[in-house]
Amino acid sequence: MTARTLTFLAALAAAAAAIFFSLNSSSEDIEKARLSLTGSSTIAPLALEIAKRYEAQNEGLRIDVETGGSSRGMADARRGLADIGMVSRRLKAEESDLTAHLLARDGVGIIVHSSNPIEAITGAEVTSIYKRETRNWQALGGPDADIILVHKAEGRSTLEVFLDHFKLDNPSITPDVIVGDNEQGIKTVAANPAGIGYVSIGTAEVAIENGAAIKLIKLDGIEASTATVADGSFPMARELNLVTYGEIPENAASFIAFAQSADVNDLIKGQSFVPPRR
């Protein structure tokens, strides 16, 4: 390596270091009060939106939102690593050392093509369809067409809610199409008259309003709508909670109060969740 190359590399390193430290110092200049949230990746995008709005109203406060799953949210809250944990389900009895603050509800509804005459389905029928025991819509009083199973990719929260509700084992399901997000699920069912799928109810309602060729069908006799999710009567749904451990510090308490107020309803709907009845 020649001396010139060495000088060059040194200059480059110096430049990188200068940039790094200047970035670092500028963020440290202003000392701000901090609030940290960790946990469920389902809740994180919503929490981030709420935090942004809250920060705008409370100058001098900085809120950090990190993901890592509901379990991490609970563990961090217990150990004091985070002020607030995010948990995308109801707390179990043995987790009563934590305090849950209901943020929103997430309902997953069964969708079919809008031309499908079927209006209602039972849990047993859904299970039988996804186990491939029922293969034709005729068995359910529909048209003579092979059912096309639309399923979600692993890791999606709607998949977890679906599998959990119907006690299904994912490797035993052999779908025709696997989709990523709710929008793709809706487009796929809209393009397949014999399709069946499950998506977030909030997203489906918006899509139907905008003319997507799908419909939400009743599950076990209960209408799939944001109203039935909000009052807790729709069966395939879960709670999105903020959890705290022990005494709640002043700034965390007022953030939680804000997150539970009607001021964030639009943000909750924006993430296709349902604001709880307040």
Binding site: F8, L12, I148, V177
Partner: protein
């Protein structure tokens, strides 16, 4: 500033740019490899080959369905796009009237500039329903993905072939004509062999592009991680697998996805190297 100082400054900035580009590649490779390593240590490379299915949440990490899926859609795309691209290049260089030539060139370049998600959307709302209606429901399949990819890599194939044909000295064609060869015979026996290596480069790069494409394939391939038995079966590609699951993956699942990314990178690197080699040999007459 003296001329000498300006020269040095210029050389310095050029070197910085080159180094930054090279470092980016090294960093990305290192990072992807580093993130993929725990998956290899935990499951062993064999698990990726022999696990019967891809269900990371249940602890099975079989990547073979995705490897085959990627190969199947890319090969189909190449088989469809290669003759079309080569034909387009031949037409442009030897048969098109001069007025048409420029227009045609622009059209091919425009085709290359359309974002892939637009092709995917077209595939989803036009192509997939057509296949579902006339061949087999639900239409999302190897065939749909191969067709969409073929349109996407067609410009790469056409532009590289065209450049290779255009680089042949005009005397060769004139000499062939002077010998009384017909246009087609001259093309087949003189010009195409001369441009062969350039066309090979186009083939390799088209294949690499097809392998790496994500969004469009994600929208039309059906994404079921299974071993396909016909062109109408849905498949999942390695890239679609990453795009579908990365945002929600944690732990071993995440590392396994990085490993599939590492695989795509390795194959792409191999293809680009092959392309580079065939180009280099061409340079030596």
């Amino acid at each position: 500033m003296s001329r000498r100082a300006a020269d040095r400054l210029f050389r310095f900035s050029l070197r910085s740019a080159t180094l930054a580009a090279a470092l980016a590649l090294v960093f990305v490779t290192f990072f992807v490899g580093y993130e993929a390593l725990p998956a290899l240590q935990a499951a062993g490379a064999g698990a990726f080959l022999t696990d019967p299915s891809w269900h990371p949440a249940s602890g099975t990490f079989g990547l073979m369905p995705m490897v085959l899926g990627s190969l199947a859609v890319s090969l189909l795309a190449l088989v469809l796009a290669a003759p079309l691209g080569l034909g387009a290049a031949l037409f442009e260089n030897f048969y098109a009237p001069p007025v048409l030539r420029g227009l045609f060139q622009r059209a091919v370049e425009l085709l290359a500039g359309i974002p892939s998600v637009v092709y995917g959307l077209w595939g989803l709302v036009v192509l997939v329903p057509l296949i579902a209606k006339h061949l087999a429901a639900p239409g999302t399949s190897i065939l749909a993905a191969g067709l969409v990819l073929a349109i996407m890599i067609l410009p790469t194939m056409a532009l590289f072939s065209s450049a290779a044909l255009g680089a042949i000295p005009a005397e060769q064609y004139r000499a062939a004509s002077a010998l009384g060869l017909s246009k087609w015979t001259a093309l087949r026996t003189v010009l195409l062999p001369a441009a062969g290596r350039g066309i090979m480069t186009g083939l390799f790069l088209s294949f690499a592009r097809a392998l790496g494409e994500t969004m469009a394939v994600l929208m039309v391939a059906g994404n079921v991680p299974q071993l396909p038995s016909s062109l109408l079966d849905p498949v999942r590609t390695l890239t679609a697998n990453i795009a579908l699951e990365m945002a929600y993956a944690t732990g071993a699942h995440r590392h396994a996805l990085f490993f599939s990314g590492f695989l795509v990178m390795a194959v792409t690197l191999l293809l680009v190297t092959l392309a580079g080699r065939s180009e280099k040999k061409e340079a030596r007459p």
